[in-house]
């Protein structure tokens, strides 16, 4: 078994133009910073990115938008990004907005081997246009398909060379779901730990879902909204 790669450049090998990627994170929390930088450097184009948000102008997926590498974003919320807005209004960028729970559950379905899910989110709204509905116990549900992504790129706190992952605090968010959902899953971790040091009971993502893993470096972990209270 050899899942261990040296760095982000090696990890993203095989990501080509026109592919579909999943990128973990919520806002800037728990995003795969190293792989995003490597993708920007590599210059891969016309990517479809499935990610809850699209970063900010100068960080996260925003960096890929600056380089016009993204053809389509599939997200639930894309505020806080002026370049994003410019590309959207000029027609350079296609955007599919979907409810956040639907986004999460479509990832989960892919990882659980289920082709579709039924959710009430979006019934009666423009999200439902053209979609199949079913009534269960008197309530209407939309059928939403499992995602089909070429690569999933996630960020974990700790991981081992067998691909087992542990996430920290709310940087977990979409990461374990996307980790399960990629045809090829890349995990970058803050700390690569020896096999055997993670308690099996505490592993969030079993290594079977992870194909490539490396210890990232230089994490900035930028805070989007710094809110504090004064010590009394």
């Amino acid at each position: 078994m050899n899942k261990l790669v040296n760095n982000a450049e090696e990890a993203i090998h095989g990501i080509e133009d026109n592919m579909t990627l999943m990128l973990g994170g919520f806002g800037l929390c728990g995003i795969p910073e190293n792989c995003i930088s490597a993708l920007v450097k590599k210059g891969t184009k016309s990517l479809t990115c499935i990610s809850n948000n699209a970063g900010v102008d100068d960080f996260g997926i925003g960096l890929m938008l600056q380089k016009k590498q993204v053809k389509k974003m599939i997200s639930s919320y894309v505020g806080e990004n002026a370049e994003f807005e410019r590309q959207l209004l000029s027609g350079e960028l296609e955007v599919e907005l979907i409810p956040q729970g639907t986004l999460a559950t479509r990832c989960m379905a892919a990882g659980y081997g289920m082709p579709a899910i039924f959710t009430p989110a979006g019934v009666g709204t423009e999200v439902a246009e053209g979609k199949e509905t079913r009534v269960f116990n008197g309530k209407t549900y939309l059928m939403e398909y499992a995602f089909d992504a070429d690569f999933a790129i996630v960020k974990a706190w700790k991981g081992d060379s067998m691909g087992n992952l542990v996430f920290r605090s709310t940087s977990r968010n979409f990461n374990p779901l996307m980790a399960m959902a990629g045809k090829i899953t890349i995990a970058e971790v803050e700390e690569l730990v020896p096999v055997g040091s993670l308690d099996p009971d505490h592993v969030h993502t079993p290594g079977i879902y992870v194909h490539r893993i490396f210890e990232g470096k230089g994490y900035e972990k930028r805070i989007e909204q710094r809110t504090v209270r004064k010590k009394e």
Binding site: Q100, A104, R172, N173, I223, R229
Partner: protein, 218 residues
């Protein structure tokens, strides 16, 4: 008339001990400041946290610990963390007792519009559509009228819908309303606001039965 703090304070009176509550961005977030002493309310943040605590002390910010508004927050003793699918799973399964959110428009049948204004930059619905489609109890915190003075409590929403027939109660700067099959039922007036003013500023069907008390907030 209530300011945003007053609206939050009035909504806090709807809380009951042990409730799991999801508070939206804006006025709803302020409700957390008015939880009655001795009452335990567990706040759910849809990015994957139950038991959201206050903002961290200066210097204690943790970039890995944020709420759905991307603000740095803290956890509390007894908090739990989970992924986004489980977060919306507990919402969809009706485990979250109360959802408080803002709205641009509410219709007298409980429809809500709060995610998109055509012609303006569309930022997305985030978790709003999931929340309104599944929550057992939804209270909307909103201004009664827009800046031009037009009612936002309507017969029918004019903006793109977020969810159908889901709002149970509205607390506006002018009063408290139950959403009933017959329309908005006025329960309380905000301090200094008359029933006539509320009638004049409510476009949707309004039910006024008997004497309407002025609300008490402390």
């Amino acid at each position: 008339m209530l300011d945003k703090f007053g609206i939050a304070q009035r909504i806090a009176r709807e809380l009951k001990d042990g409730m799991y509550v999801n508070l939206g961005i804006g006025i709803p977030t302020l409700v957390a400041n008015y939880v009655p002493q001795g009452m335990t309310i567990i706040l759910q943040s849809e990015n994957g946290l139950l038991g959201m605590g206050p903002f961290p002390y200066e210097g204690d910010e943790d970039p890995d610990t944020i709420n759905a508004g991307k603000q740095t927050i803290t956890t509390l003793p007894g908090s739990s963390i989970f992924d986004s699918a489980m977060s919306f799973g507990m919402i969809r399964a009706g485990k979250v007792d109360l959802t408080v959110l803002g709205a641009m428009e509410v219709a007298d049948n409980g429809d809500i519009a709060n995610w998109k204004v055509p012609g303006k930059m569309v930022k997305g619905m985030g978790g709003a559509m999931d929340l309104v489609a599944s929550a057992k109890n939804i209270i909307v915190a909103m201004q009664h009228c827009d800046k031009a003075g037009n009612s936002k409590l309507l017969k029918k929403c004019s903006l793109p819908i977020t969810g159908l027939g889901c709002v149970k109660k509205v607390v506006s700067d002018l009063g408290v309303f139950d959403v009933t099959p017959e329309g908005f039922k006025l329960l309380e007036r905000a301090p200094g606001i008359s029933v006539d003013e509320i009638k004049a500023k409510t476009e949707g069907r309004l039910i006024v039965e008997g004497e309407i008390p002025e609300m008490k907030i402390n």
